[in-house]
Each structure stands twice: as structure tokens, then as C-alpha cells.
Amino acid sequence: MEKSTAQTGVTQASFWTVGRGAFALALLAAALFPVISGSTFHFHIAIMICLAIIATMGLGVIARVGQLSLCHGAFVGVGAYTSMLMVMRLELPFMAGVVAAVVVTSLVAALIGGPLLRLRGVYFVLITFALNELFRLVMLEFPGLSGGSSGIANIPAASFGSLVLDEKATFYPLALISAVLVVALVALVDRSMIGRRFSAVEENITLAESTGIATARTQNLAFIIGSGIAGFAGALMAHYIGFLSPETFHFELSVSYIIMLVVGGRLALWGPVVGALILTPLPEFLRGAMEFQHVFYGVALIVILSFLPNGLVSLPDRLARLGGRK
């Protein structure tokens, strides 16, 4: 009996090393895929995956303090519009637009985070849902800022000095590096003191409070970091797509980030990466019949919630345990 447990321990450990190696290889292959295929369309999909990873990483940070935000899409929108205005109205360089986008979204999050985060669970979901709608309605009401419902076209491409990234193949490295940096940032946060406070708040807010953690400030911090990351994704999106309209930031966008997060793994570092990597290219398999794709999304969401509540990233672990039980 004891022997078999020990053996399981060994197989599990080796399973993990092999699993991690395979995962790293798969990521590398995915990242290099468009470069090898050389297809402009594959570059486009890869860029959309990177943007989705960044935005969903932000949502994951907010989820780390136990809150699910339904206005994440609106924060992506705030970042997109901020950067667009900086570059098109004030004629600042692209980098300044991106920095402004991050700063403005973080500030907005800091301003509304205090009262907002007093709400928990479904109440927080409901108010963020209302905020997302309000953002879209207000943008429609101020065409001077947002271009109104006709949207704003011809947003300049990303550029660094004379280097203009207006081709998909040239924008991709920027998107990929940005995604890697955001994952690294979140990994750093996870390992720091702040990360431990996040999970203490997530697990039991009352307990965390009684052990002397400033829970309100901790939640605010997560909200600010997560929303700032969303703003970053928005800025990149604006300059890549080149077109913005308030309809883009409909609450469906927030829902799509939630789906990616839940499918990938709500609290895991690699959850958003896995979710975005699987769900972003998925529409392309059913591009002619999106209604089937939406049905599939719905089924996937419910199945994963029921059987893998920690998302797809927990699958190897589950398999290993199943294997161990044998």
C-alpha cells in the first residue's frame, strides 16, 4: 500500500515534468506557427490571440480577489479611446498613447474601485454589467469624443519613430512581446506579498480582514492592476484594427473574456493563455455558421464549469490523479 503511494508520487512528478515540457513546447510552437506558415491570416489570428491573452490576464487579476467583472470590455474601450485620442487629436507618438491608456484606465479604476468593491459576488457582477452598458451609451452620446455610432476609422498604426508596424507580420512581434510581458508581470505579482494577500482575500475575506490585511485596499489594487492591463490591450487593439466604435465594447466583449478565463482556469497563471489560445481561433472553424459556434461556446462553458471548475489548465492534474487512482 505504502509502496504504491510512493510510486504514484513518482509517476505524478514525472507526469508533471513531462507535462510542463510539453506545455512549453506547445506554447512555443503556437507562437512560431504564423512565422513558419508565413500566412498573413495566421499572423492576424496570432495577434488577436495575444490581445485576448492580455485582456483576459487583466480579468484574471481581478478574479484573484474573488470578483468577476462584467465591465472589463468597457475598460478595454477606455484604453482604446484614450490612446486613439492622444495619437489622433494631440498627435502624440504611439508609445505616449499606450502609456496614457494604461494611466487613464488605472485612474478610472482607482476612482470607481472604492465604492464598487464594497459589493461582492453577484452584486459586483450586476453593477459592472450596468457600468458596461453606461459606458457604451455615454460613448454614443458624445460623438465628438468617440465618433458616435459611426465609429472612428483610419487610426494610425503602431509606430516607434520611423519604424511603422502597419503590416501584420511586423505588428505580431509587438503583440507577442506585450503578451509575454503581461504574463510575466502577473507571475511576479502572484509570487509577491501582494499575490499572497490576493489569495487570502479570495479564499476568505472575513478571515483575511481579521488577520490584519487591508482587504479594501487589496481588492482595489487588484482592480487597478487588472483594469490597467485591460487599457493596455485596448490601446494595442485600437492601433492594430484601426477602427473603433462603441458597439465593439458591448457587454458581449466582457462576456467573451469571462468565457476565456473560465474555460482556461479562473485563478491559474496560465488560464487566460490557454483560454485565449483555444477560443480565439475557434470561430474560424465555423466562420460560415456562427450560430453553431455560439452553441458550442455555451456547451463548453457549462461542461467545463461542471467537470473542471478550475479550467482546462487543471486537466493534466486531474488526469494524473485519475491515473494515480488506478
Binding site: 500566412s39 492576424h44 454614443l140 455610432s149 476609422a153 470561430p283 474560424e284 466562420r287 460560415g288 455558421a289
Partner: protein, 392 residues
């Protein structure tokens, strides 16, 4: 042995009889993209456009393919859904242009999606045929975009002149959805009423998913308007407004200056509420070509036809003719020029040419006959025949 050869003979014969006789050698494939809305709001329009394209393509395919520059091609229609969203449209356009490598796209339905995909299609020289009503879709800087349907900008003035004069209308109220199409149409229609000598005394915008219009209609009716204008609203919304306006006792004229959707409006509002409404009609049901198209469409797809469908059937056919005239499917610059030079094309809709030099700076806007109709017993009855110059 004998059995085997008999079998081979029989199989051979079966193949020979089942294959179309004209196909001597393997045809090449001509890919045409259909980037339209197939899910969510706007799906009726998207389906109408897609199926029109498929119908036009199948005509050529059944005849053994389309002959261009000495080669014969089978036409393959690749349909992608944009859900009426700019971002989805950009992804789909990237795929059509770079992955499927199409040179021709029928679409998009919406205005925001066409503006969002033009940076790709114009850069790569891909010819697009869009339904999008925005005036920015056509411009001299966008030489590869065509619009094979009439928009409010074309039909508003002649139609409104006619209705205002014949019905003696002095004040008008209007309801528009708060989106890019609504905004554009509100501008065009108001200007036209002013020019026709009527006053636009109440304009209301509302969110697209609104279903209750009684408060807004109360507001408009309190201004004592002679007529309500419903151009720019989706068929469902227009139908609901008609029903609710009649329900609360509005007795003036209801006018829809653009967007052929009478059947859907009558479906939603009911024939009784829609009775007497003035609508824009793109089709003259007394024309044989129109009747033949409607019959064929409904037989092929087993559901009713969307009013924009024949525009895209004619549009797709003009595009195919342009390829044949240019003698190439690869050189879209030549095809574009051939398409521009098509004049007085005999389509389902009647005689078609390109116009729009004055308004858009480029003649990529279809010039088709159109009509003012009045709803009688749930059906359109044509009361005036129009062209861009005027109605009578």
C-alpha cells in the same frame, strides 16, 4: 471477368450520364467571398445577400462554369459571418483576403464593418460590394468598393418631394435607431423634408433593442405632426412602431422612405395597422423579371425573399460580366474598370447604371429605378415610379 467488365461499363455509363455534358476538362475555381451578417440583428439582410450571390453563381455553375479569358471557372461562394460587428468583420476579411485569397467580396451588411475592412480590401485591391448606407463607404480613395443598392441619399429627395406634395404634408416626426445607419439617414431625410417644404418638427433617437415606443410616439404626436417617417429602422422595429402608433390612435401618414422591407413590416405590425402606409419599393411586381426572381428565390431557398436580395443578384451578375469583359479574374484593376463602364445593364430590377460622381466623388453607386408604394391589404401597390431625378 465478363461480369467485371459489364460492371465497369455500367459504372462508366452512369458517370457519363450524370456529369454535365459541357464539362470536358477540369474547371478552375473562382472564389467569391460573402462577408455578411448571418447571426444576430441584421441576419435577414445578410442571408438575402448571400443567397442572391449563391443563386447568381449557381446559374453559371449549372451551365458548366463561367468563361473568362479562355478559361472556364466554377464559382465557389465562401460565406463568413460578421455578426454585424466591426471586429469580427476584420477577422473574416483577413481570412478571405489572405487565407482563401479571394479577389471579390460581397458584403458587408453594416456600415461600421465596411469602414473597418476597407483598409485591407482597398490595400490588396479586393473588389467589395457593400450594402452599408454610410456615405463614407464610397470615395475616390476607395476605388474597389461598389454599392449595388440604393440608399436613402439617392431615393429620399424624389420620394419625399412626391409624398409631401401629393399628401399635403406640413410637419413630420421621425424615429431613428441610435446607430450609424440611423444617424446618417436622419441627416439625409431631414434635409430632404426641409427642401420639399415640410418641417421636421420632432426627431427621436432610441437604442436599437428598444421595443416600447409609446412614450416617444406620445411626444411626437403632441407636436401634432401630419406624418411619421420610419426610414432607417430595422423591419421589426418599424413594424412595432407602426403597430404602436396606430394603437394609440395616430391617424396621419406613416412613411418609410428607404429600405425595402414591406413584407416584414406587415408581418410584425399586421395588415390592418400597416394599411395606407407609404413605402419605398425597389421592385415593381408587375415586371416579369421581378416575379420570376421572387418565384425562383422562394423555390430554391424555401423562405421569403429579403428586399435587398435582387440588388445583390444583379450586382453579382454585373461583377461576373465585368470579369468576362476584362478577360481576367486576377487583375482586379481591369475588372473594376470594366465594372465601372457597364451601362444600362438589363437586370432583374430594370435598367442599371452607375452614378454618384457628384455625391461621393466616384461613380460606384447603382442607379436603379424605384417606386413609391402604398400598402393595401398587406401588399405593396405602386403609386409612383421614380428615378434619381424625380417621381411621377
Amino acid at each position: 471477368m465478363k461480369f467485371k467488365s459489364t460492371l465497369a461499363l455500367a459504372v462508366g455509363a452512369a458517370i457519363a450520364f450524370s456529369a454535365p455534358p459541357t464539362v470536358a476538362q477540369e474547371n478552375k475555381t473562382l472564389k467569391v467571398g460573402a462577408l455578411v451578417t448571418l447571426s444576430g440583428a441584421g441576419a435577414s439582410w445578410g442571408r438575402g445577400m448571400l443567397e442572391a450571390t449563391e443563386l447568381a453563381a449557381s446559374k453559371y455553375n449549372e451551365a458548366g462554369g463561367i468563361e473568362v479569358g479562355g478559361e472556364t471557372y466554377d464559382i465557389e461562394v465562401i460565406a463568413y459571418d460578421d455578426s454585424y460587428k466591426a471586429n469580427e468583420a476584420v477577422s473574416a476579411a483577413n481570412r478571405l483576403v489572405y487565407d482563401d485569397e479571394v479577389k471579390y467580396i460581397i458584403g458587408t451588411v453594416g456600415s461600421a464593418p465596411i469602414l473597418a475592412i476597407q483598409p485591407i480590401t482597398e490595400k490588396e485591391g479586393v473588389i467589395t460590394m457593400t450594402l452599408g448606407f454610410t456615405s463614407e463607404a464610397l470615395s475616390p480613395e476607395k476605388p474597389y468598393t461598389f454599392r449595388p443598392n440604393l440608399t436613402t441619399a439617392e431615393v429620399a429627395q424624389p420620394q419625399i418631394d412626391w409624398v409631401v406634395e401629393s399628401q399635403g404634408i406640413e410637419t413630420v416626426g421621425a424615429l431613428f435607431p441610435n446607430d450609424e445607419t440611423g444617424e446618417q439617414i436622419a441627416k439625409d431625410v431631414s434635409a430632404s423634408y426641409e427642401r420639399a417644404g415640410a418641417e421636421m418638427s420632432a426627431i427621436e433617437f432610441f437604442e436599437r433593442d428598444q421595443v416600447d415606443f409609446v412614450p416617444l410616439l406620445t411626444r411626437i404626436m403632441s407636436e401634432g405632426v401630419d406624418a411619421i417617417e420610419l426610414d432607417g429602422n430595422s423591419p421589426e422595429t418599424a413594424g412595432q412602431i407602426v403597430q404602436q402608433a396606430r394603437d394609440i390612435g395616430f391617424e396621419g401618414a406613416i412613411i418609410r422612405t428607404g429600405g425595402p422591407a414591406t413584407a416584414e413590416i406587415v408581418n410584425v405590425a399586421g395588415a390592418e395597422a400597416a394599411e395606407g402606409m407609404f413605402v419605398h419599393a425597389g421592385l415593381d411586381p408587375s415586371k416579369d423579371s421581378v416575379n420570376a426572381y421572387i418565384t425562383e428565390y422562394e423555390e430554391t431557398f424555401e423562405h421569403s425573399m429579403n428586399g435587398f436580395s435582387p440588388f445583390f443578384y444583379d450586382g453579382a451578375n454585373m461583377l461576373f460580366q465585368a470579369m468576362q469583359e476584362a478577360g481576367t479574374v486576377e487583375d482586379t484593376d481591369a475588372v473594376r474598370k470594366a465594372l465601372e463602364s457597364i451601362e444600362s445593364y438589363e437586370g432583374v430590377l430594370g435598367e442599371l447604371s452607375w452614378t454618384g460622381e457628384d455625391r461621393y466623388g466616384i461613380a460606384h453607386q447603382i442607379d436603379a429605378p424605384f417606386y413609391v408604394a402604398q400598402v393595401r391589404d398587406g401588399k405593396e401597390e405602386i403609386v409612383a415610379t421614380c428615378d434619381i431625378e424625380g417621381c411621377e
